[in-house]
């Protein structure tokens, strides 16, 4: 038993796509400092509308481009000496020098913006994306309400939070749900989890089906079927800030039913209620995540969730040699 998750087997940072912001948080010309994966980064949106992420510290004298930096065209200007860097990290101007030093460049990070979310590709060896940003099955913008967005900063690690998602007995205890029959299935690099829950919503007993897709450690989504009037979709991202902290972003939408103005407004109202319930349930887990002790071989009474499968899946996404084949020996 140890306090910390063993680093070499389950590192805090895996390889893959991670959400770093919602689109509405970054207007044209905005510059933001980011801290993820233990690194200082700068996120900015050029005048073209494209978002870029670079290492934060200017190679000249080390100023943080995200603190006081300004956008000019599709470049970010350093607040210290005015050096300009484009979205690929190339220095395009040193205002007081005729010649740009050949070493004046910054590592850039691959960014994809889709469906109102901004994602970055992270790889331990800084390799280019090995797969495209995963698709959220069943999502088409017009058919769903706008996202209700919630960011939770947790003093925890991604793996602890993921274990919570697949650890069904505690789900019951913490959230007061009815009995559940979890079903876990591995499809290549993806873990699929199906679970039935019952709870009371708007004065009715609701039997809902949760269909959880763990695409990669930073990117998952959950379809909730069987809600009154509608279905819900939760896109959940886990982005490690450092080895002790992780940001969980939840984007919650409900499926529209009917196209009338009244139906749309009803769905928006319902979205507020359901999102509030979901976030409250997440908040109940915070003390568990934040005080959890990692057991390398947890004591497993019968009926405990499929944690070993999850850990193998996680370790596979952390392996630097990508597409590592994870052994299929579970069960």
């Amino acid at each position: 038993m140890s306090r910390a998750v063993p680093d070499e087997k389950y590192p805090a940072y895996t390889n893959g796509w991670f959400q770093v912001a919602w689109s509405h948080e970054l207007r044209r010309g905005d510059v933001r400092p980011l801290r993820y994966f233990g690194e200082d980064l700068v996120l900015f949106r050029g005048e073209s509308g494209l978002a870029y992420i670079l290492d934060a510290h200017c190679p000249h004298l080390g100023a943080h481009l995200g603190v006081g930096g300004k956008v000019a065209g599709d470049c970010v200007t350093c607040p210290f000496h005015g050096w300009k860097f484009d979205g690929a990290g190339a220095c395009t101007s040193v205002p007081y020098a005729k010649k740009i030093p050949p070493k004046a460049k910054l590592p850039s990070w691959p960014v994809v913006e889709r469906d109102g979310m901004i994602f970055v590709w992270r790889h331990a060896a800084r390799r280019a994306p090995e797969h495209p940003l995963p698709i959220v099955d069943g999502y088409r913008a017009g058919e769903w309400t706008a996202w209700s967005t919630h960011a939770l900063t947790l003093r925890s690690r991604s793996l602890d939070i993921l274990e919570n998602s697949v650890d069904s007995p505690h789900f019951e205890v913490v959230h007061g749900h009815g009995p559940t029959q979890p079903e876990i299935l591995r499809r290549g690099r993806v873990l699929e989890l199906k679970q039935r829950t019952s709870s009371r919503l708007l004065g009715r007993d609701v039997d809902a089906t949760l269909h959880y897709q763990l695409i990669e450690p930073g990117f998952h989504y959950l379809h909730v079927d069987g809600l009154p009037l509608t279905r819900a979709l939760v896109v959940s991202s886990l982005t490690p800030v450092d080895e002790q902290t992780v940001v969980n972003r939840l984007s919650i939408a409900l499926a529209h039913r009917g196209s009338g103005v009244a139906a749309r407004w009803l769905m928006r109202a319902l979205r507020v209620i359901i999102a509030r319930r979901m976030v409250a349930a997440y908040e109940q887990d915070r003390p568990i995540w934040e005080n959890k002790v990692f057991h390398e071989a947890p004591v497993r009474p019968a009926g405990d969730g499929p944690i070993p499968l999850l850990r193998q899946w996680y370790a596979g996404h952390a392996a630097t040699g990508s597409l590592a084949v994870v052994s299929e020996q579970v069960r």
Partner: protein, 282 residues
């Protein structure tokens, strides 16, 4: 767990400005945090200022008295990692008593930075334009380092209350703790700038500002207020950069950057040889 922010010790061996003389009347004792400890500064009944550690680390040595100088309205204390006596003195700063120069006030800040950043900053020609409202890149007129002092002179038009005025600025450092900056040009002012290491992460920056102005009270007051405002703007813009920057041992420099690497070499003499600023490790 995380690597230290700076590749050198928090406190170089130098003279440091601990308190202003007028903060310490006879009989008073002040607690002054500095050098990751707490110092006591007191003025005896006979007028002599003394500095000692509040809780001496080695009981045997007892309350060792630090080496102190009192000059130009400042109580300076000498820090040496091995307790060695001073190898240099801070020369008197003439303008503090020169006729025609008026004291226009003091200012101070605590910032998350290392004093070497401030020393390097004085020869960082390219930063004047963005952070100190120079209307064109500053030009190096002169740089010379001699023993424990160096002097740098730059020239550039500076925007003073929105109007570009041709200006020459000379900064002299005496050790890494005490500097004097003077301008020549239509507006003449001068700052005594002092750096005091507080601990591994923070330092105290103090300014004592002087201007050469007609001795007409209204002019004096207006100008003093304008100058204080100006200094505050300049320092506070820069503070944001300094507090968030990373110290690069191998900066990518461009033509026009100023003698930054010369100043880094000059700084090495103030660190113990074993911890001298490394040329960087692979």
């Amino acid at each position: 767990m995380t690597a230290p922010r700076f590749p050198f010790p928090a406190t170089p061996n130098s003279w440091y400005h601990l308190v202003w003389s007028d903060e310490l009347p006879r009989g008073r004792t002040l607690r002054v945090p500095a050098f990751s400890t707490v110092l006591l500064a007191r003025r005896r009944a006979d007028g002599v200022a003394e500095v000692m550690e509040e809780r001496p680390r080695a009981r045997r040595t007892g309350a060792r008295l630090w080496t102190v100088r009192e000059q130009d309205g400042m109580i300076l204390v000498h820090y040496h990692a091995d307790g060695a006596p001073p190898s240099f003195e801070v020369p008197p700063i003439a303008l503090c008593s020169a006729p025609g120069w008026l004291n226009v006030g003091r200012a101070e800040w605590i910032l998350r930075s290392h004093i070497q950043e401030l020393v390097e900053n004085s020869v960082d020609l390219a930063h004047f334009q963005l952070l100190h409202r120079f209307s064109e890149p500053a030009q190096l007129v002169d740089f010379g380092a001699q023993a424990q002092s160096f002097s740098v002179t730059v020239s550039a038009p500076k925007l003073v209350l929105g109007v570009p005025r041709s200006m020459k600025l000379t900064i002299e450092y005496h050790g890494m703790g005490v500097a004097v900056g003077r301008t020549e040009g239509p507006l003449r002012f001068a700052n005594v700038v002092t750096n005091l290491p507080l601990d591994a992460e923070r330092m105290r920056l103090r300014f004592h500002m002087f201007a050469r102005v007609p001795r007409v009270p209204v002019v004096h007051r207006a100008l003093a207020a304008a100058l204080r405002w100006h200094v505050r703007q300049d320092v506070e813009d820069e503070m944001t950069v300094l507090e968030h920057k990373r110290y690069l041992e191998r900066p990518v420099l461009a033509a026009g950057d100023g003698p930054i690497m010369s100043v880094r070499r000059w700084c090495r003499q103030f660190y113990p040889p074993t911890t001298a600023v490394s040329a960087g490790v692979a």
